[in-house]
């Protein structure tokens, strides 16, 4: 396990380097820069000479790789730079936004687990019968409704019609219910189907028959023997989708006025706020690598047959 962690740390450095280089080059190649926004040209009289002077001051006239090297030198001194638009250090900006994103992600995960576990179990337990149909129907709805629409429907029902929950903002657990439901419902659809498939697969295995033959209680067979193995595809997909989960909550953040990382990233891209974009990509990159490390470590626990670097896994 130690070997795996060590290898992954090496990979992390490489991944982050390539990620930051690619992002840097792509964003510099994209047309536009933040100069007009920094100068506030939509309300202040700005001349083209002012623009040129600021471009030079910010070093935008230098070759891309030189600009990248400057950014990298600062990064090695643990300095992510300062937002062009807001004037705040990038690290502060990221740390301000991170808690909301984590709250939203955790809320979404709780809803996802609460919906997908029972649905997955029921569907696997009664394949082809009504619980399976209900699960499939819900999965279809969850996968088909875009989150901005589901969010609006939930606000319409719970905030406008029933007036049970607030429409927007932060501050109490009630504020997090609708955003978590919106995020969790769409995820639950996919995971319930994955869990069903995983459970059906593991329930057909020899060791389950053996366990049942030994007279082990059915719930124990399901939970201890089948469930653990069925979690492997679930966990794998989760590892792959964590990046989009952390970054892709932008619609939900906008609907519910939750200032998270997603909306910050999108805004930074529109405004060409390069330091924020770089910091954001790095942070998400670190998360993705760490979560995937945890996923890999969990395989060994979920299925003892899987061992890192120990040859034949069968």
């Amino acid at each position: 396990m130690f070997q795996l962690v060590k290898a992954r740390m090496g990979q992390l450095v490489l991944v982050l380097f390539l990620l930051s280089l690619m992002t840097f080059i792509l964003m510099k190649m994209a047309p536009g820069d933040p100069v007009l926004i920094i100068l506030g040209s939509d309300e202040m009289t700005v001349t083209q000479a002012d623009e040129a002077a600021l471009r030079e001051e910010l070093g935008f006239h230098l070759p891309i790789l030189v600009q990248y090297a400057q950014w990298m030198t600062n990064l090695l001194q643990l300095d992510l730079g300062t937002s062009y638009i807001k004037g705040k250090p990038v690290l502060d900006e990221l740390m301000d936004r991170l808690p909301t994103t984590i709250e939203l992600t955790v809320g979404g995960l709780i809803v996802m687990i609460l919906i997908s576990l029972p649905l997955g179990f029921l569907a696997a337990k009664y394949p082809g019968r009504w619980p399976d149909h209900v699960s499939r129907f819900l999965a279809l709805i969850g996968a088909s409704i875009p989150s901005f629409w589901l969010g609006l429907l939930l606000i319409y029902l719970f905030a406008f019609k029933l007036q049970w929950l607030p429409t927007m903002g932060k501050g109490s657990i009630y504020h997090m219910i609708l955003p978590s439901l919106t995020l969790g419902f769409a995820m639950a659809a996919v995971y319930a189907r994955l869990l069903r498939a995983g459970l059906l697969d593991s329930l057909s295995q020899e060791y389950i028959r053996a366990a049942r033959a030994r007279g082990i209680a059915e719930w124990r067979v399901m939970l201890k023997h089948a469930f653990r193995a069925a979690l492997i595809p679930v966990v794998t997909v989760f590892g792959i989708s964590i990046g989009s989960l952390l970054a892709g909550t932008v619609v939900i953040e906008t609907l519910f006025s939750l200032p998270g990382l997603g909306s910050m990233g999108v805004q930074a891209i529109f405004q060409r706020d390069y330091p924020i974009i770089q910091g954001y990509v790095l942070l998400i990159g670190v998360f993705v690598v760490f979560v995937n490390l945890l996923v890999d470590l969990s395989y060994g626990w979920l299925d003892p047959r899987i061992r890192q670097g120990k040859g034949d896994a069968s």
Binding site: P31, Q163, I177, E218
Partner: protein
């Protein structure tokens, strides 16, 4: 399967749906608690109202604010926390605010008399020294403000502030309307530390910041010693939400009293609620066509005039903007003293075709206009950030086709960048704030002077440039109005732009709010006068 096994199976079958129901009910349970809390709240408010007449208002803005630093955010002024020396009134005319009067002693010297009897929210007295310290802080915090004010030095003497500018700066009083020029207590900042100050700045306005959650909301409470009479409302919640439908739902659910930028398609539903009203006022922005005069064809004023006549302004205001726009007769909102006095150019395709024929085009056998054997075809650039603009391009395309002019529409992400970097476009649908501080100088300098940052088409009209230069050196307000009018006249003759429509500011208001109207300037949103029934 053993008996116990069967029993377990049944348990699973029974418990499974139960668990599912539990999940579905989970939000319901939480919600019921909230419902109880929600119902309890009005009761609690009523009880308090009896005791202290607690009055609250909730405002929702369509853009968010991550900081309340008054020199880098407009929301602090909008929320009634800080004020400026000069303001504009409901007729968009400059009026004294924290300064009672000002005079231009010579080309470079301005003297402002600071209002007596004003205190900052920390109790400190407002005098010229405090204003000087605030401007110094502002110019250090915002390069934009430093550039706009052009201050070389300042001298404070009691209530008299003398400003020496780096160059003749006739528009200084109008620049001081800028929210970035808000007056804050620098002494309070020293005591609190910059970070704490930027979360709860101390100004002279009718409200103080009770708490601020960046990008979510500002909780405001009344400042009882406000110089212009304490506010009628005790507390204001100033929220931010960027989703138009959610904002509309918040108004409809009565969670908010004043909601900015309501989507036009929800207006009918809102109007059906007898407790709600929708205010639609022409703003200071203008949507227009910008002609690329670097293209030889568009250098002919007759061609530009033809497209001006092809622009169906009534249809844009009524069909595209569903009545929430006002046809434009020039760059400046008709309320402004220097706005164009002439009527809006009427849609006239016949006259447009005539002009094009005069410009040397001939009608081909298929009805298409040709010159030198080539059909007349234009490329129009548009962008989606303002959803009306692509529709304006489509309307023009269809009207132009009727007189044999082909228009290709190209949608780009960033029109500013595209129009500067590429030279191949002919017409751009554009939108600018034309008089953000109730003065013509900004738009004329930025969009119509050769060195201006919004002049992607390289417009250079000598006669106009001379007037703008004279305007930049004239401080007398009446003379400025006259010069701006002359400038507008030349613009309407030369047609470097075709002004289409002034988009309205659409604000949803709960009728319990009284003595409050949205202003075209979008500056003074929380006031001491606003009240609730």
């Amino acid at each position: 399967m053993s008996i116990i096994g069967k029993y377990r199976t049944r348990m699973t079958a029974v418990c499974g749906p139960l668990m599912l129901s539990a999940v579905l009910l989970l939000t319901g349970c939480g919600a019921q608690k909230q419902e109880a809390a929600g119902k309890a709240e009005p009761v609690a408010i009523q009880a308090e109202e009896k005791k202290e007449e607690m009055k609250k208002i909730t405002v929702i803005r369509n853009f968010k604010a991550g900081s309340l630093d008054p020199h880098n955010s407009w929301e602090t002024l909008r929320a009634g926390v800080v004020e400026t020396l000069v303001r504009i009134d409901e007729n968009l005319v400059l009026k004294p605010w924290l300064a009672t009067s000002w005079e231009n002693r010579d080309e470079l010297t301005w003297v402002f008399t600071i209002r007596d009897g004003v205190t900052f929210q920390d109790g400190a007295k407002l005098d010229a020294a405090a204003v000087k310290a605030s401007f110094e802080r502002g110019m250090a915090a915002s390069e934009n403000l430093a550039k706009a004010l052009k201050i070389a030095s300042m001298e404070a003497n009691g209530q008299e502030l003398t400003i020496i500018t780096t160059q003749p700066h006739a528009a200084l009083p109008s620049e001081l309307v800028n929210p970035y020029a808000s007056v804050i207590s620098v002494e309070a900042e020293k005591k609190m530390g910059t970070e704490a100050f930027n979360n709860a700045p101390v100004g002279t306005g009718p409200f103080t910041v009770k708490s601020f959650t960046p990008d979510i909301e500002i909780q405001l409470e009344r400042y009882d010693k406000y110089w212009d009479g304490k506010a009628k409302i005790n507390e204001v919640t100033f929220k931010f939400n960027e989703d138009p439908n959610v904002r509309a739902l918040a108004l409809q659910s009565k969670e908010a009293d004043i909601v900015y930028s309501i989507p036009s398609e929800t207006i009918d539903a809102i109007k059906q609620d007898t407790e709600l009203a929708v205010e639609s006022v022409p703003g200071l922005r203008v949507h227009f066509l910008l002609y690329n005069e670097q293209k030889p064809l568009l250098q002919d004023v007759k061609v530009r005039k033809a497209f001006d006549l092809l622009l169906n302004r009534d249809s844009i205001a009524h069909d595209i903007m569903l009545g929430n726009g006002t046809p434009a007769n020039g760059p400046f909102n008709m309320k402004l003293p220097f706005a164009n006095q002439e009527p809006v150019t009427a849609f006239n395709p016949t006259e447009a075709k005539k002009l094009l024929l005069e410009a040397g085009f001939t009608e081909g056998p298929d009805g298409k206009l040709m010159k030198d054997g080539k059909p007349l075809s234009m490329e129009i650039i548009t962008y989606k950030a303002r959803p009306e603009l692509p529709l304006i391009a489509q309307l023009l395309q269809s009207d132009a086709a009727k007189i044999g002019v082909a228009i290709k529409i190209k949608t780009v992400e960033n029109a500013d960048t595209y129009s500067r970097e590429k030279k191949d476009w002919d017409i751009l649908t554009y939108s600018n704030l034309a008089a953000p501080r109730g003065d013509a100088g900004y738009f004329l300098n930025s969009a119509l002077m050769p060195e201006g940052s919004l002049n992607a088409a390289g417009i250079e009209i000598n006669e106009l440039s001379q007037i703008v230069m004279e305007l930049n050196a004239t401080s007398d307000l009446d003379r400025r109005v006259k010069l701006a009018r002359e400038a507008v006249k030349i613009i309407n003759q030369e047609i470097p732009h075709s002004y289409a429509v002034f988009p309205n500011l659409i604000v949803g208001v709960n009728k319990r709010v009284v003595d409050w109207k949205p202003g075209a300037e979008e500056y003074y949103m929380v006031t001491n006068k606003m009240d609730v029934k």
